[in-house]
């Protein structure tokens, strides 16, 4: 274990003994040292053996949970939640805990490299001046409309900088995309909120205050929108009120981790969620004896029961529950919206809420608080906008593409053809921290710091009552020769000169941050106030962000949806196979957790499988097809085919199969590469009403391949399922 420590490591490990660890910022001639503020007022010297805690923000997903990282002698040891941050109130999820296995991952991009040829893993190292020059030339030498930025959903301060940069340059605005937003169908939620709640924005479902939650496909305890916040609220719903225990029903074809926590699981035919919601609305109206609103009038309960596979008396039983509940709440989510009729489903479910009049009430539907520094909620691009972006790339009009914080080759379905579009772009510059697929296909990789080594802020879109800006500061000095992308862009802007230089005349990232944070000095009822920016910046770093003390949830004005007649057209499924396909985001890996060894080792909650992908098939169907556990089957859809090991999963409809998303990388480090399969290969380009991908709208065929691949389960098949098999 004790490796001979190189001199450079020794310096790092010894931890610079300055009062508070000083950090070199910027990389141009004007670089200067900026002191960091430890989390609580620690003794001013860094004892050996005493750990120092720094507050920062988790960048494993876009929820923006606050973290407090314990460091000792310049090494980050343990990540904990930031108790004061209203998003997670001191708690973290599995991905947040494993973020250190990302920072200290053995396969990180260590230096700026220039790929001799795209796709080849060898690239010759460059120094940062040359790298900045490349970026400067790309910005100055190309015409503004020939420059394109493709960003991930975090961090927001980089997105704001790129927005300012493109505005001052006159280039098209940066496009934001994330696989999580694709599987959560955020555009559909936003559009439905506009149609039903009267305002564009991300709805916030107050699960904590509700005593009857009907969730139509929303996996809000896994990776949906802000998982830690929703898990906290779920716990409040169950045990928050001593004399009332919330009741929770989940409507989905495949029982997800959220489904296992439900009191009742309704195995519904995919695509019929909207119809079922309307049927329940009608039955609730009949149960309450009020007049039947127009929106529910056109629905025939028997026909809905026939299509959806949910018997009439179950529907009446559910309607009874919904009617008698004090604060009933219906949530449209994930799989339900990933159908061709996804938008109508969302509107039908929101109509159900409108009927019980729980808009803007505890246990009802709100619009998420507007984040600080944000004029209005900017949602990430939906698949329609991504298709347009891909077409512009294909048209060859884009000469240089900058990519940061997103891995579209892996995250986007292959049928959209992003890879070929990338080939058409003469120069691709990636700022990836890890050697993922898109970084491998780019000409240059100028690696950004890891999330815990960088500055910044994240505007919290949803999950917290008050308006929250989660702040980030480096908890350790950067481990490799990486530079913050904001610094690189600022330096490039100076080199490029002209309007760009004058618009972005910030010495370094911290000064840029301070220019943004200036606006918050004068905000009313803020968590801490400071007379001027330097004191504010110190508190901002020490508390790990800035947030208001009072809730800012917006009570929706509501459009008279009950008067409208809402027709749910049956969901279209393309593909000749006879099984519905449910791709779901792995609750453990999320969209980018595959390269962290300990995340691969953490078992999937439902199947306890680790380190690989699997396909869940109902045991009855499997027996019919003569398939057994660990048999490898070929799954074919219109768009492609994959091979995966079978897991006979008892809680899934016989006509449905499910595959987790998160594995199947071809690059991205030793723990992720060539492990498992990517269900996105099966998805076609069909969209739903709001421009989101109808990812659950595929029908696939299953064929035996005769091969066998043992799944690494933590459970024992014999102990849990009774068959004497290992």
């Amino acid at each position: 274990m004790s490796k001979q420590i190189s001199r450079r490591d020794f310096l790092k490990l010894a931890g610079v003994g300055a009062a508070t660890t000083a950090v070199l910022t910027g990389c141009g001639p004007a670089s200067r040292y900026v002191t960091r503020e430890p989390y609580t007022k620690m003794p001013e010297y860094n004892y050996n053996g005493l750990s120092t805690f720094y507050a920062t923000t988790c960048r494993e997903c876009a929820a923006g949970c606050g973290l407090v990282v314990r460091t000792m002698q310049g090494r980050a040891i343990k990540v904990e939640g930031n108790v004061n941050n209203p998003v997670n109130l001191g708690k973290t999820c599995a991905r947040g805990q494993a973020t250190l296995h990302g920072m200290y991952n053995p396969d990180r991009v260590t230096d700026p490299i220039h790929h001799v040829s795209r796709g080849s893993s060898n690239g010759d190292k460059m120094d940062w001046d040359a790298a900045t020059q490349v970026v400067a030339d790309a910005l100055s030498k190309n015409k503004p409309e020939e420059i394109a930025f493709l960003m991930g959903m975090a961090p927001d301060h980089l997105f704001d900088l790129v927005t300012d940069l493109t505005k001052s340059l006159g280039a098209p605005a940066p496009v934001r995309f994330g696989a999580l937003s694709m599987f959560e169908a955020r555009a559909t939620l936003g559009q439905a909120a506009k149609d039903v709640l009267g305002q564009d924005g991300l709805p916030f479902f107050d699960v904590a205050g509700s005593d009857m939650v009907f969730s139509f496909g929303a996996n809000f305890l896994e990776t949906w929108l802000s998982p830690v916040a929703y898990t906290r609220n779920y716990a409040k719903m169950r045990r928050g009120n001593p004399d009332r225990r919330g009741y929770f029903v989940q409507f989905e074809a495949r029982m997800s981790q959220t489904g296992i926590n439900a009191d009742e699981w309704i195995p519904i035919v995919p695509g019929t969620e909207g119809a079922v919601a309307l049927a329940i609305g009608r039955l609730v109206a009949e149960a309450k004896g009020t007049s039947l609103p127009a929106v529910f009038s056109g629905v025939d309960v028997k026909a809905v029961a026939q299509d959806s596979g949910v018997s009439v008396d179950t529907l009446t039983h559910l309607a009874g529950l919904f009617a008698n509940a004090a604060n009933a709440l219906a949530i449209p989510g994930g799989v339900a919206l990933g159908q061709s009729n996804g938008l109508q489903t969302a509107e039908a479910v929101l109509a159900l809420n409108a009927f019980t009049g729980n808009f803007g009430k505890p246990g009802g539907v709100y619009l998420s608080t507007l984040a600080p520094l944000a004029d209005q909620y900017h949602r990430p691009a939906n698949i329609k906008e991504m298709q347009d972006f891909i077409n512009t790339l294909k048209s060859g009009s884009i000469k240089v593409l900058f990519v940061h914080g997103v891995n579209p080759i892996f995250e986007l379905p292959k049928s959209l053809g992003f890879a070929d579009a990338l080939a058409k772009v003469p120069q691709v510059i990636s700022f990836a921290t890890f050697p993922d697929e898109t970084a491998m296909q780019s000409d240059y990789v100028f690696p950004d710091h890891h999330g815990l080594e960088s500055w910044g802020y994240q505007k919290v879109a949803t999950g917290a009552g008050p308006s929250v800006l989660s702040g980030a500061q480096p908890v350790v000095s950067p481990f490799y020769n990486t530079h913050a992308t904001v610094d690189v862009l600022l330096a490039a802007a100076q080199k490029a000169g002209g309007a760009l230089a004058s618009a972005l005349s910030f010495k370094d990232e911290v000064e840029y941050l301070q220019s943004k944070l200036n606006a918050l000095l004068t905000e009313a009822d803020s968590y801490f106030s400071a007379p001027e920016i330097n004191t504010f910046m110190a508190d901002f770093q020490q508390y790990g962000g800035w947030w208001k003390t009072k809730d800012g949830l917006v009570a929706p004005s509501g459009v008279d949806v009950l008067g409208k007649s809402l027709k749910i057209d049956p969901a279209q499924f393309n593909g000749s196979g006879q099984y519905y396909l449910i791709p779901f985001v792995s609750p453990v890996l999320g969209d980018a957790g595959a390269n962290k060894p300990w995340l691969q080792e953490v078992p999937d909650p439902n199947t306890t499988v680790t380190w690989n992908s699997w396909v869940e098939i109902n045991p009855a169907t499997a027996d019919q097809l003569g398939i057994d556990n660990d048999d490898v089957v070929l799954i074919k859809s219109d768009a492609g085919s994959v091979e995966a090991s079978v897991y006979k999963y008892p809680a899934i409809r016989p006509d449905t199969i499910a595959i987790p998303f998160g594995q199947g990388h071809t690059a991205y480090g030793r723990y992720a590469a060539n492990r498992g399969i990517n269900p996105a290969d099966l998805l076609g380009p069909s969209l739903n009403g709001a421009g989101d991908l109808a990812f659950a709208g595929m029908k696939v065929s299953i064929e035996k391949t005769g091969k066998k691949k043992v799944l690494a389960r933590l459970e024992s098949i014999m102990g849990v399922y009774g068959t004497p098999q290992n």
């Binding site: 014999m718 102990g719 849990v720 004497p724």
Partner: protein
Amino acid sequence: MAATAKPIQSIHAQEAEDDLRENLLFDPRPRSEINSMVMESMQTAGWKFWAVTTFVALFVLVALFGVWIYLILNGMGVTGTDRPIYWGVFLSNTVFWIGISHTGAFVAALLRVIKTNFHHAITRVAEFMAVFGIIQTGLSVFFHLGRVWRSYWLIPFPNERGLWPDFHSPLSWDFMAITTYMIVSGLYLILPLIPDLAMLRDHSTGWRKNLYRILALGFRGTEDEWKHLRAAIKIFSFAMIPIMVSVTTVVSWDFAMATRPGWSSTVFGPFFVVGAFHSGVAALVALLALIRITMKNMKYFIRPETFDSLGKLMLIISMAWAYLYFNDYIVPWYGGTSLDRLLLKFHETGPFAPMFYLMLTFNAVIPWALLWNKKIRRSPWVMFIIGLLIVIGMWFERFLIVPGSLTISANPFTWRIYQISWVEVSLTLGTVAFFALLYLLASRFLPFISPWEVQEGQESHTIRKVGKAGLPSASDID
């Protein structure tokens, strides 16, 4: 000894007498002839013997010590053990070898104590089996330890940090019991050997003479020496019987003390003792048959008569074993917890089912079907086969008890099924080869037959004429 044609009326008497002559003790030879026969069996070794010995020695070097070092360097991960099967083949080997080893000493001691008329030729082979078997037991225990380079902490020696082993643990009792048995069986081999070494000292030349002169410790055979020696052998013989029972019981308590379904049963003590005896006698019979076939002059010492008597013993013991196995089976079957019953069903229908049924046939069905017949009992070849089958059957039984029963633990989430790994197969065969190697080497240096005991037996057994028939009479001459 084909019976020659005789007049009818006295045929019975003569036939009876010829049968009697079958027994070694009633077919005496002069001591010098016995000595030379034993010496000859020790010294003559063709190239075939040395070829086999070197092959076995090489196999032991590679398959035992080489693979053991590989195991130590790579950790227990290379074996088939996992959660919840923390004890694998090495533990069942330990129980298997301690069974064979114990019966060696037990047979030698018991038959001496009850003064049978067939043990005189076979006590030395049995004592060798005891010593060589306990060496394999020790090895198997060390294979099984996760950090074998720290296992000296099991020894209760005073050290500067005042750390002592925990004697609440059955493993500490085990350590005590196996060490005791190792020392005691060694001494029990040496004591009767001293007179034979004196004989060898007198009859050999060159480097052998010097070797035996040193080993014989100056023994002459004066009355004092014989008196002390025979007193000691009497004490040893009486003490070995309870030791054998206690050490096997302590080994069985490693399993009986654990709160695992299938293990925590009160019948494990006697069950393991009888199991040890069953496999031991079978192994002894197989060894004797092998020695009789391969070594010179052994046909005179190891006779069909010996196999006949041992065969009867095997029949009785296999019934006892079957009884105790049934006892250990019916109690959980009838009143056990659901896990116990599931374990029984797992044995009968799970992946180890063939091994389960083979065990029953080898250990009980075959012995009962064959060993009642005198002709079968007297033929060394058939007895060799039956012995070998019982030894294999008992190994299966130990395999089913240790890794076979660990599949079902109190927590169903962690049940796994044991898969043996090449490392364990290699080390198991390694111990068998090492056992054989020790025998091969011993046959060159130490007599397999104890001439003084044979002569002593022959002197104290004569044929007395009663009426027309010659009847065996035994006098308590020694």
